[in-house]
Symmetry: C2
Subunit: 160 residues, 2 copies
């Protein structure tokens, strides 16, 4: 839908339309907050991934991705969301703060053949107009995900 | 369904059926892991609620409860799940451990009129056969929830 809107905007020459720099075709995941909650984790200062992923994150799967978690490989159309929020420490508790980034893996084995069949994107602060990955998916995402080749490049596992 | 199974077991005199001591009629929330994820929180040592609720918890809402969060009051049939897992600290991260308790609020304004229209139950370690609240909902749950009378006795708020 985003790509359609963008294409239409370009075709129509509408300069006020949202600018999606380096659009790699991964759609913003509409309604992901109603998807299956896969698992969660808090990454704290001192962790190797703190700079990139510090905070509390939740993973969500659409129906196709849920099948993929169960099967160990994911069909085209599977979408996994990595929803990263600030982790607010205080009062002997960790609570959820503002959104840092909304990461997306979108399976389309034809389109994204060079990155394991997955398109990768990150929407800064969850803003659908602010793409943080764009054309850099190979170096920014996939190289690390290759360690999970045996699980179709997906790090997370479905928690009961 | 649990109550039906229990009643049938009693009627049939099947002693091997699961014993549901002090069944207060709140059903085990089938399929709650596919419901809407409302929000999450980690409660750590030193927190007033640590003894009862220490760990990482997630709240889930069925469709009727989701409407309730948006409206500020909850219709009959609304069910909210408080899914409490061990919080495993290590490697500068907090990960999810085993299930401590599966808490349930089930709105049935006729049946549970004495506790704000809500039935309360806790399934120890998520085991549908181990009810932790039973007939003690008033003292074990509701007295604390009365502080939230203006939000229909529900503490949590829906996070975006």
């Amino acid at each position: 839908m985003i790509r359609t809107a963008l294409s239409l905007a370009i075709l129509a020459g509408i300069s006020s339309a949202p600018i999606l720099a380096d659009d790699n075709g991964v759609p913003y995941p509409e309604d992901y907050r109603d998807w299956h909650h896969v698992k969660s984790m808090v990454i704290e200062e001192g962790h190797d991934l703190y700079e990139a992923f510090g905070g509390i994150h939740h993973l969500y799967a659409n129906d196709a991705a849920l099948e993929g978690y169960q099967a160990g490989s994911f069909p085209d159309g599977a979408v996994i969301v990595f929803d990263l929020l600030e982790a607010e420490h205080g009062g002997n508790a960790v609570t959820e703060g503002s959104r840092k980034v909304l990461g997306v893996m979108h399976k389309d084995s034809g389109r994204y053949a060079e990155t394991g069949g997955w398109g990768f994107e990150g929407f800064a602060e969850g803003d659908r107009g602010r793409r943080a990955v764009g054309k850099e998916a190979d170096t920014a995402c996939f190289q690390c995900h290759t360690s999970q080749r045996d699980h179709d490049y997906v790090f997370s596992r479905l928690r009961k």
